[in-house]
């Protein structure tokens, strides 16, 4: 791509550093900004810079927060002895939007993945283990994605806290609500039979 302007080229280059944004998309986005009022570009730039420099992580659950202790951890009406372990903040948002969970979260910040160079020390595991060993937790719910890395991470944490003798559970895997059985993959269908629940219980959900 040949640019008639260094300023444009630079803006397109920086934009194309974002994941999933190629050079052509970046050019389209940048030209869009050029066609809009100057304020829009300024607001975007300022919002990104302010977020990157001022954003904090909750000192308890490592969720993104504007204050030291996030809204969820600071909410005294929630059960602070029930902890849901998730990968990142998007999972917190997803679970919160269900309205089904009234405990607290613990955001690991990723999964153990040797292939990506992510070891246990790169994640917020120590503070979770400490919480459990300090007898501050009754139940831990693993809500990591159901991949090799997720399972490894679950198992690593489980081994670390085994001695504490608390309840450790994992979210249910099964056929999505509304899905046809014939299109489900075998592993999921197999698990949903293996972990079947009493019929009366299913009526409550």
């Amino acid at each position: 791509m040949e640019f008639s302007s260094k300023l444009l080229e630079n803006a397109v280059y920086e934009m194309s550093q974002l994941p999933g944004i190629g050079k052509r998309t970046a050019l389209r986005l940048v030209l869009h900004l050029l066609g809009q009022h100057k304020d829009q570009t300024n607001r975007l730039s300022f919002a990104l810079q302010q977020m990157r420099s001022e954003l904090k992580y909750c000192k308890s659950c490592h969720n993104i927060s504007d204050v030291d202790l996030c809204e969820i951890c600071a909410n005294t009406s929630r059960n602070d002895r029930l902890i849901c372990v998730v990968e990142d903040i998007r999972d917190v948002m997803a679970i919160e939007s269900t309205g089904q969970f009234k405990g607290l979260y613990h955001v690991l910040g990723g999964k153990i993945s040797p292939i990506d160079g992510v070891g246990p020390s790169d994640l917020n595991i120590d503070s979770l283990v400490q919480k459990v060993l300090d007898k501050n937790v009754d139940e831990l719910i693993f809500a990591l994605s159901s991949t090799m890395e997720g399972d490894t991470t679950n198992f690593y944490i489980f081994r670390k806290i085994e001695s504490a003798e608390i309840t450790v559970s994992t979210i249910a895997r099964g056929i999505s609500v509304g899905d046809e059985l014939e299109y489900a993959d075998e592993v999921t269908l197999g698990r949903s039979i293996l972990h079947r629940i009493p019929f009366e219980q299913s009526l409550k959900g």
Copy 2:
């Protein structure tokens, strides 16, 4: 979407103002920036702001440029009496990358489109007409997209410069090089038969 941070929410909101970027994509992009070094966000913000505030348009062809007269217009080895009329700067880049055009461009900045509220006065048409009437042009090539709006714009300009009696041409429409006839649409195929060229001429391209 419920955010645990106003800073994050604001950044996601501004990002999602870009065309084709929804809330979910915006969140993914913003979280990506959070995971990278602070410098990346600063570079992106600065590049966008600098581009938006300092970018100029060439005073002759209205192409984007860092200086008053763009590189193409300033290049004395190009034929400045042959003008290719295009919609926007992406078209200039596309034609430049073919290496087949040695004249200058005129960037209209859009097409006449009453439905989008774009009239002739919103485009760089007057300066083009002036160039022609000042007898500075031998040939005008219309290279607008082949839509109702493109055709309207071509015709509007044509009527304005008719009296100047210069050569006015339009880029050839036809089957793409390498395409199978059976998959071409009828209009394109029809035009490519109507505007057939001598076989010997096709050997040169």
